[in-house]
């Protein structure tokens, strides 16, 4: 936190707005981003109870166009692209031959021969190069990250706030569908997607309009309790919702099956990178499994802490944090399959001492449908 860095950090179009709003800026994935404004707990609870506005313009966007763009995407991603209808989106992963994720991402289909991938900021260049490398198809791949700002408006009031300033009415969207829309007069894409475990939307639009859109959305949602929310709350919200974060639950030594992402691994869709490895792992059995746990004592598990059973080290915590809404200390960890199981106890090594934790079903938090 105190070391100077020679690398020039990237800034979103909203950098000055975040600073002025009292955002605490930190380095994240090569970007200078707000980690919190009023505080992680307050922002987290606002998203569960009302709404939060997140600047996620650091996320990358990769466009795939052309006659064989579906074939290219079928080959480099794990989910089944052929199931997508026009203006539908799907959670998927770019996949390595050994079954691990290059990245996890959301794929949007505009129509025949036109797709847009939303990818993790830290992985944008790697993902782009990866897709290009496997592009033996009649398809054109473009990194269009600079063309978009992206705001996430999340929470139970997100729909009514956004509907007031957007046309056509985005509340007609089902989860994981998107449309072209005008929000505050700005043409962009509105998708009913998010990373918080709440209902919510993501708006992709030209960066030039960022400040006005940000300020007007906060103004439009003021009476319903919207607050600006930072990456700190985004992380605790996604952890409560049990969502994987690349670099934590996902990396090149972990397969999709181990990460509980079998549901986006469509082994029957035909040939794709990683299919053989996943089929083999399915036959042979998993080497490790992602589990959720909650601390039985007051201690807090953190990323990379050691996990043991009966004093024997069996794995590592991949994400650990207090959960502001659940008011528990929770975490995700990889353990051998024979150790995994909701209700079974594990120990977390915290500053030289073993603390008790109990495995619980995932997700930790699921919103009640209204």
């Amino acid at each position: 936190m105190t070391t100077g860095t020679a690398i020039q950090l990237k800034r979103t179009a909203l950098y000055a707005v975040h600073k002025a709003a009292g955002g605490r800026m930190v380095e994240f994935a090569g970007w200078e981003m707000p980690v919190e404004y009023s505080g992680i707990v307050a922002e987290h609870l606002a998203v569960r109870a009302a709404a939060g506005l997140f600047d996620v313009s650091h996320m990358g966007e990769i466009e795939v166009r052309g006659r064989e763009s579906q074939a290219l995407l079928q080959y480099v991603t794990s989910n089944d692209v052929s199931r997508l209808k026009d203006f539908q989106a799907q959670y998927t992963a770019l996949i390595e031959r050994q079954g691990s994720a290059v990245d996890d991402c959301v794929l949007h289909r505009f129509g025949e021969g036109h797709y847009l991938l939303c990818v993790n900021a830290a992985n944008t260049e790697k993902d782009f190069a990866w897709i290009v490398r496997h592009n033996r198809f009649d398809a054109e791949v473009r990194d269009v990250s600079d063309l978009y700002s992206q705001l996430a408006i999340q929470g139970p009031r997100a729909a009514s706030i956004l509907a007031r300033v957007t046309s056509p009415d985005p509340t007609s969207l089902a989860p994981y569908w998107f449309m072209r829309a005008r929000c505050l007069g700005v043409e962009g894409l509105v998708a009913r997607t998010g990373y918080t475990g709440e209902d919510g939307f993501e708006f992709y639009f030209p960066p030039e309009e960022s400040e006005r859109v940000w300020n007007c959305l906060l103004e439009a949602g003021k009476s319903e309790g919207i607050v600006p929310a930072g990456l700190g709350a985004r992380n605790t919200l996604r952890l409560e919702a049990g969502y994987a974060l690349y670099g934590h639950e996902l990396d090149d030594s972990t397969t999709l099956l181990e990460a509980n992402l079998g549901w986006i691994s469509k082994l029957d869709k035909g040939e794709f990178l990683g299919r053989e490895a996943l089929l083999e792992e399915k036959r042979e059995g998993l080497r490790k499994k992602l589990v959720g746990f909650e601390m039985l004592d007051r201690a807090i598990a953190r990323d990379n802490y050691r996990v043991s059973v009966d004093g024997r080290e069996v794995g590592r915590v991949t994400s650990g944090s207090p959960a502001p809404f659940l008011k528990k200390n929770i975490g995700l960890a990889y353990v051998p399959p024979e150790v995994a199981g909701a209700g079974r106890e594990i120990e977390i090594l915290i500053r030289g001492k073993r603390w008790r934790a109990r495995q619980v079903p995932l997700p930790f938090y699921k919103r009640s449908k209204t």
Binding site: E36, G39, A42
Partner: protein, 129 residues
């Protein structure tokens, strides 16, 4: 906010010296950097603490931070309120958010600490880099 009557460390702890005892806490700058504090691990009364060594830890939602003792001595009291209300460190870092009270085994150690002016300059200097 840097009270003038206290002494400070480079790790952002403060100590209020009253004859042979000292009350220790973390600074407003430290609590602000940490954010919402949710858990505190402290020694017990009677434990010995050494200058510049960890006497416990403070955890916010996003991070855990060691607390380094400004002085050596024996723990006389710990702030029991923090068990249930660790957020007192955020709301009143120099008052109700105090951590421990110790008897000083070497009063000269206090002379090596920073004054309020020195600490304020130190924080400002760090922010500039």
């Amino acid at each position: 906010m840097v009270p003038v009557e206290l002494q400070y460390t480079k790790d952002h702890e403060w100590i209020r010296v009253d004859q042979s005892t000292g009350t220790i806490g973390i600074t407003d700058h430290a609590q602000n950097e940490l954010g919402d504090i949710v858990f505190v691990e402290l020694p017990k009364a009677g434990d010995h603490v050494s200058a510049k060594e960890s006497l416990g830890s403070v955890e916010s939602v996003k991070a855990v931070s060691d607390i380094y003792s400004p002085v050596s001595g024996e723990v006389l009291a710990v702030n029991a309120k923090l068990q249930d209300k660790p957020e007192l460190i955020n709301t009143d870092p120099y008052g109700d958010g105090w951590l421990v009270r110790v008897s000083l085994s070497d009063p000269h150690e206090v002379e090596t600490l920073m004054s309020s002016e020195e600490y304020a300059a130190y924080v400002q200097d760090k922010a500039a880099h």
